[in-house]
Each structure stands twice: as structure tokens, then as C-alpha cells.
Amino acid sequence: MTAQISESITYEGKNRSLLSCPLSDFFSLSNTPSPFQMNCTALWRGYLGSWEIKQERLYLVEVKPGFDDDNQTTLADIFPGFPGRVFAHWYTGELRIPDGEQIQYEHNGFGSQYERDILIQIKQGVVESITIKDNMPSGSL
């Protein structure tokens, strides 16, 4: 699989890449077919989601189709009544936020490595723990 375009997340006031796809879990759990389709091998999921960690919780604040001008799907189409912010209570798992320079490119999904990963453990949409993983080879400056 081609390297995939990341999601984005606002964390500690800074906009960053997010190498996790919590919205895919929603489509799966709710038995809702995704309204997005793949138009580019670098974006198999067909959408770009924007997320935010606020008050120790994970929120989806925007979703837009990728490489599909005809698709006008918005957040409110997927979550009626919630056009600007959706609490991602369905999501449990790890959020991976890359930090620093890319140190190894992988032509595969979210496989590329960065200097550090900020790993946020989420339980039912609520932050449980945050760890920083150092990916630099030991002994390097």
C-alpha cells in the first residue's frame, strides 16, 4: 500500500499530523457505509479528518473528502445535529502523533518513522495516558 496521507489533530494548541484513523472505527461499529471513496492510492480511506484533544477528550471537528470534488459530505451528514464537533466516545486505542523529523520513509500506510512519537492512549474517547517514544537509534546525536 502506498504511504497514506495523515489525519490532522490539534494537540497542546499546535496542529499536527495524526497517524491513526478513529473515524474508520465509527463506520465499522455503526454499520454505516463510508460516504467517501478512494480516488487516490495515497488516501485509501477517501477522507481527511481533523481532530482535537480538548479537556482530555478526543473530538472530531471536521471531515472532508479527499481528491473528490463531487462529494460534498460534511460532519453534519455523518453526525446529524453536530456540524462542528463530535465526541469520539466510540474510539478506544492508541493515537500516534509523529514529532520531529522523518528519519525513515516507508512506502506503506503510516509506516514511516519520525524522531519521536507522541502516543496517546484513549479509552472510550477519553485520554488515559500519554507517552513519548524516542525512535532515534541509540548513540545518535
Binding site: S30, F87, H89
Partner: protein, 167 residues
């Protein structure tokens, strides 16, 4: 010369044994008798020459059997607590300080929950947490299951599905 004879003899015995076992215990009716015979002799001749490789392959497949994906099923040991529908609904109301979800059971998954109730008319449900191994690790599914009269579980509602964290 004696070493070559010993080598080929071991190979011959090994291949004869293995192919005889295959013939009787791994029958494939789609192959004709003539084809089976020709495969048998070809196997003996080639196998006698490369038998160490065959031994390695057979041992490896015996010691490291290929992963077989099981169909997901909730087992009795996965069941946690029997609850009434109202107890489930009270427990699973989602609250959010920013009001980014309705205060209803299972929040944004409420539509699926209501469909589950209409389609299955459960009076009692069991909460469950089930671990399930797939190709990329262990997946954990949490939800509520309806226990049939015969004790089987065919109907369930999943509201959490995540990877088991790696240590």
C-alpha cells in the same frame, strides 16, 4: 560410495514412508489413480535426493503450524454480567462537557442500538468482553449479548472494538 548409498537409502525410506502416509490419510479424489502413481514414483526419486530439505519443511510445518483465522464468536467465559435493558441503557449514556454527543445510550451509536432492540426484542442482555486473534494481533470487542434458550450466543451488539495494546 558408502556415504552416497546411506544418504539415498535414508531418503528412499523417508519418502516411501511419507508418501504412503499421504496416500492413505490425505486422499484427494480429484486426482486420477494413474496420476497418483506417477506422483508417487516422482516423489520417491526426487525426494530421495533432497530429503534433508523435505525433513526440514515437514518439521517446520509441524512445529510452526500456519495461523488459522477463527470466525469471531462470543464464548461463555467472555460474559461478564446479566443486565436488564434499562440497566444497560442507564450505564451506557454518554456524557460530554462540550455537548458533542446526545445524552442517549451509546451516544453516536444510538441508532444502531435502537435497531438492535427492535430486531431482537431482548429482555436480558449479558455484557461481554471478548478477545479475538486475527492476522495483525489481538482484537478486543466489548458489548452486550443475548443468550438463547439453548445457551448459545448468536445475537450481540458491539460498541467497542480495539487492538490489545502491545507491551
Amino acid at each position: 560410495m558408502i556415504y552416497l548409498t546411506v544418504y539415498l537409502s535414508i531418503g528412499l525410506l523417508y519418502c516411501l514412508g511419507y508418501l504412503t502416509y499421504s496416500y492413505f490419510f490425505e486422499q484427494d479424489d480429484s486426482v486420477s489413480f494413474e496420476k497418483k502413481v506417477s506422483n508417487f514414483f516422482l516423489g520417491v526419486i526426487v525426494g530421495s535426493l533432497v530429503w534433508p530439505f523435505l525433513v526440514y519443511t515437514h518439521l517446520n510445518s509441524y512445529l510452526n503450524p500456519p495461523f488459522k483465522l477463527e470466525a469471531f464468536a462470543i464464548k461463555e467465559k467472555d460474559l461478564i454480567e446479566a443486565m436488564s435493558i434499562s440497566e444497560v441503557e442507564n450505564k451506557e449514556i454518554i456524557y460530554d462537557p462540550l455537548n458533542a454527543v446526545l445524552k442517549v445510550p451509546f451516544g453516536h451509536l444510538n441508532k444502531k442500538w435502537e435497531e438492535f432492540k427492535v430486531n431482537n426484542s431482548p429482555s436480558t442482555l449479558w455484557s461481554f468482553k471478548s478477545e479475538y486473534e486475527d492476522y495483525s494481533g489481538v482484537s478486543i470487542k466489548e458489548g452486550y449479548a443475548k443468550l438463547d434458550n439453548d445457551g448459545s450466543i448468536k445475537t450481540f451488539f458491539i460498541h467497542q472494538d480495539y487492538r490489545k495494546p502491545t507491551k
